[in-house]
Symmetry: C2
């Protein structure tokens, strides 16, 4: 099967978000075992001027809904960043997974040259769908899911790269 805009995005996002759910389960188990509030991990950062775990998950899912909606030529749904608990975060990831399950190849395939408009610093930046997906959405998505993993690993959660790559 030859490559498609759907094939390079939806299965990748879906796999990584499912892996992230598994990694968060391990974070919860670790906090329970060590008897600390898992909220400590949700607020953890790798540097004082870097975003905490909760925000990493919010932004990763933003790139999922943002890229698939834009490529499909649909308005991007607005999700309030109100997650507080681990269950809230899981619900947000499941919301992104539900969106991924609804997207059809017909909606986004062929969007390689579709002009995508992003607001950056008050300016409209227009670029073709392929450049946007491969140069903005995917690297941002990978950046934030990897950073979420790294925050947990740095704080002692027993996860390994196999948890990140998944099966």
């Amino acid at each position: 099967m030859s490559l498609s805009m759907y094939g390079v995005s939806v299965p990748v996002y879906t796999r990584q978000l499912n892996n992230l759910l598994n990694i968060l389960d391990k974070a919860e188990a670790y906090a329970a075992e060590r008897k600390f509030d898992v909220a400590v991990l949700l607020a953890s950062r790798l540097a004082p001027d870097m975003l905490p775990l909760t925000k990493q998950v919010q932004i990763a899912t933003d790139h999922v809904k943002g890229s698939l909606s834009r490529l499909a030529g649909k308005p991007v749904p607005s999700w309030a960043d109100e997650e507080v608990t681990l269950d809230d975060l899981r619900a947000r990831i499941r919301k992104a997974l539900a969106l991924l399950a609804e997207v059809t190849p017909a909606e986004i395939d062929g969007s390689e040259e579709r002009p995508i408009t992003l607001k950056l610093g008050g300016h409209d930046i227009v670029q073709p769908g392929q450049a946007y997906l491969l140069g903005i959405a995917m690297p941002n998505f990978y950046f934030h899911v990897t950073t979420a993993y790294a925050i947990l690993r740095h704080n002692g959660v027993p996860v390994g790269k196999r948890d990140f790559i998944g099966g």
Copy 2:
């Protein structure tokens, strides 16, 4: 232009490795300004049982040469993991960039279904080129370049996500 195996890999690898070179320049400048040996950063890790920066760069470049060679049906070149200094690491990244500059679309386009054999735990795992690239090579590559960034950021190097995403 519709998606191709070349288009989803070579420009992505190239962009991220150039960004990594810029990030390493900032690490060098930071070490000089704070008067410590940049080798401290090369040996830094996010967790005691996680690999240090040097190894993150080695593995990221391994996935570049590994995936492009396998998709092209060519033997994977063997690069000794002998890098010690920052200049050694830069040379390894430039070696990967030189390989990326030599790969032609004709060599890897159409490799979506080409059977790719990987040795994992002593067993041969065979999968189609597309599944290998999108499910093994790219997530591993992104994992290691993001972790390299995260190690530096965690240690105070003034880099931001813009350095990671690049222009």
